[in-house]
């Protein structure tokens, strides 16, 4: 197995003075292999979201290295980092993560426009993704005309449509009712198994923990426990 994500001694500290220094992520080293369905879990303030942001190149570490598919993204900035995220990582956030003035189709299509995918291919992939996430016939609806669950399905479709190697999901079920949350997780698990796509969650949702193949427990910015099922 190859490590698609690898963090080496990565730290993210906030504040300058020792008295007020917050060690959100403190010397964390992990390796996540292709096709894993991993959940980073822990109480609020444990550093799980910060670690997810560091893995996703949304934040730069104070020290240490983060390798994604062999590239150290901790050294990347600006346009290069934007392009790397666009081409290699799919993101799913909590609710309200769609562009409200775009329809579901346009939201899914947006990332392919950034990639310069031609119109016919975009159309084909959007239709396929809508079918995969069970939103056929709802592509022309704007987010405010979709339920919370349907919006997250669109977000999943957007995250997957560019065929990224990794999908990072930050509390994707936090704003959903239990039934919708389970349906979405089953969908993501199915996509993970079907496409061998790597999923990393930041969560304290029991439903995700139950489905995850690996749980990384965080406490006070450090890995407290790393267990594979």
């Amino acid at each position: 197995m190859t490590a698609v994500i690898s963090s080496t001694d990565v730290c993210r500290f906030f504040g300058d003075e020792e008295a007020t220094l917050v060690k959100a992520v403190d010397h964390v080293s992990i390796e996540i292999e292709r096709g894993e369905f991993t959940a980073i879990v822990g109480p609020s303030g444990s550093g799980k979201t910060t670690l997810l942001h560091l893995i996703g190149g949304l934040d730069n570490p104070t020290s240490g290295a983060v390798h994604l598919s062999g590239t150290n993204i901790a050294e990347m900035t600006g346009t290069a980092l934007s392009d790397f995220r666009r081409d290699h990582i799919g993101f799913i956030f909590q609710a309200y993560n769609l562009i409200p003035v775009f329809s579901a189709e346009e939201n899914i299509e947006y990332i392919m426009l950034l990639q310069g995918v031609d119109a016919a291919e975009r159309k084909r992939r959007v239709a396929a993704m809508l079918a995969q996430v069970g939103l056929e016939g709802l592509g022309d609806r704007r987010p405010n005309k979709l339920s919370g669950g349907q919006q997250q399905r669109v977000a999943i479709a957007r995250a997957m449509v560019s065929h990224p190697e990794i999908i990072l999901a930050d509390e994707p079920t936090a704003n959903l009712d239990s039934k919708t949350g389970i349906a979405l997780l089953d969908l993501m698990k199915e996509l993970n198994e079907k496409h061998n796509m790597t999923f990393v969650f930041s969560t304290h949702d029991e439903k995700i923990m139950k489905r995850a193949s690996r749980l990384i427990h965080m406490l006070d910015g450090k890995i407290d426990l790393d267990e594979s099922k």
Binding site: T49, T50, H53, G56, L58, D59, G78, T79, S82, D83, R85, R86, D87, G90, F91, F93, Q94, Y96, N97, I99, P100, V101, F102, Y110, I111, L113, L114, Q115, R158, A159, D170
Partner: protein, 407 residues
């Protein structure tokens, strides 16, 4: 294209703010168009009053005459100049004048003034003396006819038919000469200087009293077929006539102080425009920042999924561009409507005198192509320039901070 489409749709997310911003910019453009139209109308009125009241668009004198209005510095070969003027196709009208300072006496009082000897017929093509008659009759060529300013008539306590004695110095020898006239008309120009100090008699009578021949005159006033405006004062005729003996000057050269005032008036639109658009630009910056702060989570998301900083900058600049376009549409329509109204109905300020120039008519706003071409271009450019700062701010948003801040 997607960025432009997203930017355009974003305008309707907070319609109230967009409408307020559009109104701020649009009304600024409207105000600028209206102000520029009124300023242009005022300048036209001022120029008309300067050239149309008495001065004419140009004058010919003997060199040195204008320095102290010395009656001895008359044009000796006025007949020759008159022939030349009659042949010139660029002229609409000209009129010879004889001018002298005089003591003007009635049975009740005495005052000092300036007496113009005018050709009653030719003068109508130059000045407003005939139109200024408020009582009695305009000159008909009679020997003892005299028109007197309203204020001077009040000072001298005279009315129509009353006797006036003019005492003046004859040309060349300086001998005092007196002549008796009867008030045939009272004139009112609405300009203090003219109404208090001026009297008009027939040019033949003036020449006779001053001891001048009918080939002599102090001044020729000229009006051209293509009027000499502020921006068009070139005349081949004036150039040709100018020489060692003769001085031929356009109205701007005759009134250098007024020329400066008019020049300042022209630039006032620019100054008002600068102030208006500085304020509007601050409004745009404020509005854009509010819009960015409202969408900070969304910027975090779209940056996270791979939108480049320059695409975010483009998005904000497009939004500003579309706001500017809509504002221009509104501003131009309103500006045209206000301009159309004020150019047909005029704006009556009552009688007023501005730096010696009478503004006793309504000011009619004037359209000019730059109001509908250059002004909107400035608006679009300034709005987009004002949006650069917010756009740079949005482009530098750090996704992890944006995503956490609004959660």
């Amino acid at each position: 294209m997607q960025t432009a489409s997203l930017a355009f749709r974003n305008l309707f997310r907070n319609t109230r703010r967009t409408v307020l911003t559009v109104m701020l910019i649009g009304f600024s453009l409207t105000a600028l168009i209206a102000f520029d139209g009124v300023m242009r109308g005022m300048i036209t009125l001022m120029v008309d009053n300067i050239t149309g009241t008495l001065t004419g668009e140009a004058q010919i004198h003997r060199a040195g005459y204008r320095e102290n209005l010395d009656v001895d510095l008359y044009i000796d070969d006025a007949g020759e100049i008159e022939d030349r003027l009659q042949q010139d196709s660029s002229l609409r009208a000209f009129a010879p004048r004889v001018i002298s300072g005089a003591m003007i006496s009635s049975s009740y009082n005495v005052g000092a003034g300036i007496v113009y000897g005018i050709d009653a017929e030719l003068e109508q093509g130059i000045s407003k003396v005939r139109d200024a008659v408020v009582d009695g009759e305009y000159l008909s060529g009679g020997e003892s006819e005299l028109l007197i300013g309203l204020s001077m008539a009040e000072l001298l306590e005279v009315g129509l038919g009353d006797r006036i004695v003019l005492t003046l110095s004859e040309v060349d020898d300086g001998e005092l000469a007196q002549a008796l006239f009867r008030v045939s008309g009272i004139v009112e120009f609405g300009l203090r200087e003219l109404d208090e100090n001026f009297a008009f008699i027939n040019i033949a009578s003036a020449r006779q009293v001053l001891g001048m021949t009918d080939q002599q005159a102090h001044e020729f006033a000229l009006n051209f077929i293509t009027p000499l405006t502020m921006t068009n004062t070139d005349s081949a005729l004036l150039e040709e006539l100018n020489g060692e003996e003769i001085e031929a000057l356009n109205w701007l050269e005759l009134n250098p102080d007024i020329s400066l005032i008019l020049e300042l008036s022209r630039y006032s639109s620019l100054m008002i425009g600068a102030v208006l658009f500085l304020l509007a630009s601050l409004g745009v910056i404020n509005s854009m920042f509010m819009s960015i702060y409202e969408r900070i989570y969304e910027f975090g998301v779209i940056k996270a999924i791979g939108t480049r900083p320059r695409d975010i900058r483009k998005l904000i600049l497009y939004e500003a561009f579309f706001i500017a376009l809509i504002s221009c549409g509104m501003g131009l329509l309103l500006g045209a409507a206000i301009g159309a109204y004020t150019s047909s109905s005029g704006i009556a300020f009552g009688e007023m005198e501005f730096s010696g120039i009478a503004l006793n008519n309504a000011i009619f706003s004037e359209f000019h192509p730059i109001q509908f071409t250059q002004f909107p271009v400035y608006v679009v450019l300034l709005t987009v320039v004002a949006a650069i700062y917010p756009a740079r701010f949005a482009a530098r948003i750090i996704p992890s901070e944006a995503l956490q801040r609004s959660l």
